[in-house]
Amino acid sequence: MPSVGQDLGAYLRQEMMPTVWCPGCGHGIIAQGIAAALKEVGTDLDQVVVVGGIGCSGRTPFYMNTGAMHTTHGRALAFATGLKMARPQLTVIVAMGDGDALAIGGNHFIHAARRNIDLTVVLYNNSIYGMTGGQSAPTTPQGSHSTTTPLGSIEPNFDAPTLAIAAGATFVARSTTFDFQEMPKLIARAIRHPGFSMVEVLSQCPTYFGRLNRLGEAPEMLFLERDQTIPLHDLPPVEITREVLVGKRPIGVFREEAMPEYTQRYRELCAAAGGVYDA
């Protein structure tokens, strides 16, 4: 099988194509990464549900040939938590935008991480609210322009991996849409990880973030991703401070740790109570 550009036809919901995404939007590359990861992991697609929030990114479930749940803005992880608990044998992947996951959905994000429940979040970080037309997000770098920060944002941004680790996530990684070889592999690793996993993928929104910040078209933005990141080959988490990296964002795996997973702990609780969970 060729290592890039494999046949993902069976993983895609063809009748929903073409996608709603703008020309050059990075989200399609991430969606493809999820499909490739699913292929690599080899799970029965009947037992996979891709859950999305609301946002351009949140449309991902429509394009995956799996169970698909397009939920509400910010709450995808809460739906996914119920789904996973009710049927723990499902592989549940949660596609969320940066605004979706970290603005309105920040609480569900940290709580799902805290529980260490076996969900895989793919965080589509395009530094902006795409779907609503280019407002600032909690990931918008300070100084950047958006329609709600016409003079440049005055707010510091979240660093998603730092937050995820602080909250308790046990697999945390970052990649980019430039990195088409690593990104699907990281997602696959995240899916295989038994516990809460999060892969942040830096994505380009040429329509808004690119245009408002004069970063060029999609190809230029892709190269910026390359230039503004630096691979951290499995460095221990202690080293991740923004200072060290002089403006570059590290990519790679920040944390990968085996900790008791939530549905597993729940199984043990039921056993102790005399019940059989998920027989």
Binding site: V20, W21, C22
Partner: protein, 181 residues
């Protein structure tokens, strides 16, 4: 012999500047001393799909804001033509970007090389201004001076020069059609 109210529908793909064109047309009509309502419509799936912008121009108050049966139609794309371009009031005018004919050979309306003209000017983005100017030249929906003023008002300074060129090119295109008719 302009209708009153005059109902105009501009349509194209998301990203082709339809709404801005509608706004400039409305603003020009306002400059002409008329009442205007401009509305727009795009589905959530319409980033590349068809979108439209409608302008009602009248000497009196305008109640219903949308256009049910347009008097003037301008279409920039195939999808837009198929969705919004097929209906026009009796005696109405339909202007089509000419490449639509390639996909829809039986399309009804006057075709113009709007896109080619825009490309010749260096940026396909000015397609909306070329088309709007052509429409105005053909139909005299608003005065050209008002349209020029509206363009100056609504356009960012850095793009103004290019767009003024597009406006004039569009007028020229439209005149050619008008004289043909």
């Amino acid at each position: 012999m302009r209708k009153d109210p005059l109902r105009v529908r501009l349509s194209g793909r998301g990203g082709q500047g339809i709404i801005l064109a509608g706004t400039m047309l409305a603003e020009a009509a306002m400059q002409d001393g008329l009442k205007v309502v401009q509305t727009q419509s795009y589905g959530p799936e319409a980033r590349l799909g068809a979108s439209k912008s409608e302008v009602v121009i009248s000497s009196r108050d305008i109640a219903f804001p949308e256009v049910l049966m347009p008097d003037l139609v301008l279409c920039f794309s195939r999808e837009a033509y198929q969705k919004f371009g097929r209906h026009v009031s009796p005696g109405g005018v339909v202007l089509l970007e000419q490449s639509i004919l390639k996909d829809v050979p039986d399309a009804q309306g006057q075709t113009l090389p709007l896109r080619d003209t825009a490309r010749e000017l260096g940026k396909e983005l000015v397609l909306n201004v070329v088309g709007l100017a052509a429409l105005v030249a053909v139909t005299e929906a608003v005065s050209r001076e008002s349209l020029r003023a509206a363009l100056t008002h609504r356009m960012k300074a850095e793009f103004l020069e290019l767009n003024v060129a597009a406006l004039e090119a569009g007028f020229a295109l439209g005149e050619a059609v008008a004289s043909r008719a």
